[in-house]
Amino acid sequence: MTDKKSFLKEKARQIRRHIITMTGAAGSGHPGGSLSIADIVAALYFEIMKHDPANPNWPERDRLVLSKGHAAPALYAALAEAGYFPVEKLVELRRLGSMLQGHPDMTSTPGVEASTGSLGQGLSIANGMALAGKLDGASWRVYVILGDGEIQEGQVWEAAMTSVHRGLDNLLAFVDYNGLQIDGTVTDVKSLGRVADRFASFGWHVLEIDGHDLDQILEADAKARETKGRPTLVVANTVKGKGVSFMEGKVDWHGVAPKPEQVEQALAELAN
């Protein structure tokens, strides 16, 4: 394994540990969909994105919009690991007065770029940022992470048209394809069929990857950068709850926090 890859793997592992600790301490939250994006978030903050934790408002930074805002623990963990704020803060998740709100709040947390949580809104916000970047002739890029259930929202498809119509090649959208939402599998609740085909038919440059394979994530970003005139959508095949045996693939772990003994077991599994 290359140094870079082992470094990113280690970051993803730390992020997963934080997700467990934070949600355990909070007694609520969304571990499943946070764990499924841990590798993508690690790759973004520790390799792909140009950013400066000491200067969160640096105008030239790349931006991530976490459209599936309930996965905030993954974002907060990455931001803390990157140095935006001390990791000790993470256990304050969801407490009264905390800078770490239950869903991302750009006014409370340094490094959070958009306030999300009401699903379906992040791609529009990311489009707006990407448009501003184009207007300014800037080189910074915009990333967005959508849920596979979230894309049932109509606004996502309004936004999907906008990204293509405006030729936003400075935008990369991930769909965290973990196959689960709250009431069951995405297939059972309301199937979109092949998500890759749907976005391709809207004119997107579409890639499909294993969302837990760091090489594939980095490669997808490289391909997106080479693609001119249209946005790139990456269908990231993932496992909800990834990394914690008793959470993997279980719809029940969408929005339930682990109990103390479960925290212990999960951390043991994530020990190395």
């Binding site: 006014t107 809104q121 529009s124 707006g128 448009l131 906008t162």
Partner: protein, 316 residues
């Protein structure tokens, strides 16, 4: 060159002011949802095509895109009919714009029953209520062209989300060239001691007319133009109640949640006096001519005058 007395829609002011802003500030951008001819943003689009974003019939996406533009330093004016800006896209306005306090201006035209023949689906009568309930949202309802131009500029200068409400139809110009719109301040248009009419939008003209008629009956009526509904100039409201002892509000909006409610909230807590709200009662609008509809729902100088007589009669 004064425009006094001329009838002109406040949406014209929106279009004209945007063009002026476009010249002054390169960060001003305009979005529209397939209504640019109606909202008059087409004027901006013609002059600054690279800063005009046609979003198609997708109001939710438009609001989100405006949020993203604002997050990256632009001053976006998101434009559509009041109905769709506040109804279709409420969640986006609340969560993507209001909650983070982003610097988005919402230019909402075709508000109220004066939309006319298109009927109830196009006549927003609860938009002020919805926008007023969002923390940090500034809500402006200009009374005429003169005030509207200034209000658009004040909105651009203000940092934070602003909701601007414009009419489709012509409204008589009531302000001279010397008028100065002040965000968050009521404008005293006529002083008096027997009662106060607090009005906004198209009802300001009716309020002045009512006061004039009542003067003939020996009643001296104060008239306040409440161009900013939020933050409300509570001081002017309380002062009016203390000094005149009775208040009538007048607005082209539901009597639930709009200017009348805002004034009632202040009076109820600080200085209860006999009060009456003139507005659309708790019903949907309907098709008809703008003038006919104003008449039908009692949005007239005669009805305002009648309500003033009633509250004056209730004074202790």
């Amino acid at each position: 060159m004064t425009m006094l007395g001329k009838k002109i829609a406040t949406r014209e002011a929106y279009g004209d002011a945007l063009v002026e802003l476009g010249k002054e500030n390169p960060n001003v951008v305009v979005l529209d949802a397939d209504l640019s001819a109606s909202t008059r943003t087409s004027k901006f689009a013609a002059q600054f095509p690279e800063r005009f974003f046609q979003m198609g019939i997708a109001e939710q996406d438009m609001m989100g895109t405006a949020a993203g533009l604002a997050a990256a330093g632009k001053i976006p004016f998101a434009s559509t009919f009041a109905m769709f800006a506040t109804g279709r896209a409420y969640d986006q306005v609340r969560n993507s714009i209001g909650y983070p306090g982003l610097n988005v201006k919402i230019g909402a035209t075709h508000a109220g029953v004066t939309v006319g023949e298109d009927g109830a689906t196009h006549q927003a009568l609860e938009d002020i209520a919805l926008m007023r309930a969002i923390p940090g949202m500034t809500v402006i309802v200009p009374a005429d062209y003169v005030e509207a131009v200034q209000a658009v500029k004040a909105a651009a200068a203000h940092v934070g989300p602003v909701y601007l409400r414009f009419t489709r139809g012509g409204v008589p110009v009531v302000f001279g060239d010397d008028y100065q719109f002040q965000l968050g301040k009521a404008a005293l248009l006529r002083d008096g001691g027997d009662a106060t009419i607090i009005a906004c939008g198209v009802m300001v003209g009716a309020a002045l007319e009512a006061a004039e008629a009542l003067a003939g009956e020996g009643l001296s009526i104060r008239v306040l133009n409440m161009g900013t509904i939020k933050p409300l100039d509570g001081e002017a409201v309380i002062k009016a109640a203390r000094e005149t002892g009775a208040v009538v509000t007048a607005e082209e909006h539901s009597i639930i949640g709009g200017l009348g409610s805002a004034v009632a909230e202040v009076l109820g807590e600080n200085c209860p006096v006999p009060m009456k709200r003139v507005g659309v009662p708790d019903v949907f609008g309907q098709s008809g001519g703008a003038g006919e509809l104003l008449e039908h729902y009692g949005l007239t100088a005669a009805n305002v005058a009648q309500r003033v007589r009633e509250v004056v009669g209730r004074k202790a």
